[in-house]
């Protein structure tokens, strides 16, 4: 066969196929050989388009970051910082939940992934514009990421096993119903995320008041 007149592969096609494979069968299912087979080529062909497997997975993860809504951080958007942060967090979590298998890659940090960096940049810029001191703006970007990726990665409920005998009441007196968590995993995680997000924003609003007394109207968060 050798070189075809029209390339068989492209970065886009590789990322698309890899994403589908990750979504369907998990990160471990992606081997260069398996992915190549899925694409109808031989394993080493991939190395004409990516330096190594990690770069492929980074691109897959970045495609998820690219789907996070950032419009709330636009300069001419009129949401206050609290609402913007809230809406962003919800959108971020939704993007991750849609592709849970990619979260371990995303959680490593933005690194050199362009979309991941764009997210970090947008949050930081908007917080500074809202009146947060730069050092605090950096912290807010970080701590929100902790919470959001943590919630997508370590799905609390899914972490328990759906097996009544796994949790001996003698060992874990308060986990009597833990095996039921596997059932309502979606709801528990959703509820914990919402509770945590509200608490986080309430707490930040409190700090905002003490850090900055002369906040403009636009920057002032309104509590619901």
């Amino acid at each position: 066969m050798a070189r075809p007149r029209k390339p068989l592969l492209s970065r886009e096609r590789i990322v698309e196929t890899a994403s589908a494979l990750v979504d369907a069968e998990g990160l471990d299912a992606v081997s260069t050989r398996r992915l190549a087979a899925e694409l109808g080529v031989s394993g080493p062909s991939l190395y004409n388009h990516f330096r190594n497997k990690d770069e492929i997975l980074d691109a897959v993860a970045d495609a998820v970051s690219a789907r996070v809504d950032l419009s709330m951080f636009d300069e001419d958007d009129d949401r206050d910082w609290r609402t913007a942060l809230h809406d962003w967090a919800v959108s971020y979590r939704a993007a991750l939940s849609a592709h849970p298998n990619t979260v371990p890659v995303l959680a490593r940090g933005p690194g050199r992934r362009p979309a991941g960096l764009k997210v970090a940049d947008a949050v930081f810029g908007a917080m500074v514009r809202a009146g947060w001191p730069p050092a605090q703006a950096t912290r807010i970007g970080a701590l929100m990421r902790y919470f959001i990726t943590g919630s997508a990665l370590g799905s609390f409920a899914r972490g328990f096993v759906d097996d009544a005998t796994a949790y001996d009441p003698a060992d874990y007196p308060h986990l009597g119903q833990a095996h039921l968590l596997a059932d309502r995993q979606e709801q528990v995680d959703q509820g914990a995320f919402e509770t945590g997000l509200e608490a986080l924003l309430d707490g930040l609003a409190l700090q905002y008041g003490t850090v900055r007394h002369g906040a403009t109207l636009r920057s002032t968060p309104k509590r619901p």
Copy 2:
């Protein structure tokens, strides 16, 4: 050689050696063959003590969970729920930071790991005792885990590359100093963790007030 009169291996020795290997060279360095070589045996020997490699890594991760202080959740400890939650979070994060390479395993959830389950059990029990409704106590355990593991896993600062040319100001107008983050990573992550933890606890305290008016003195959080 075959079977020696005194066993060459034990679960403890395997976990110890695996932990050291994970700490020193990361999760990827642990292959059954490499680990066995480190222990002076052949690869398949490990299967006499663990069902598979994942069980070994689970045990390594659980050893980290076992080092998390839970004394603040004892029935006769006199810390209020806010202080207890705070002290626990700090201790939890310290345990994870001491063994950052194990965090991806821990973040999967407690599963069947005894120490991980003991942690979940203790938090839940203490929150219920402090007057939180059970559903909220579950959520608190989950959201705290999100934040803590998220902060240990996705070290925000380490996620950036220490390379001034990596972040073009045209693409990321607010990330001018991002490459410096790699330098002060420890401080940034520490600061973000503390800021986030305070915000989270402040927010929860606010909720506690509305959820439960008749809180006892012992359960009432005092804001610093």
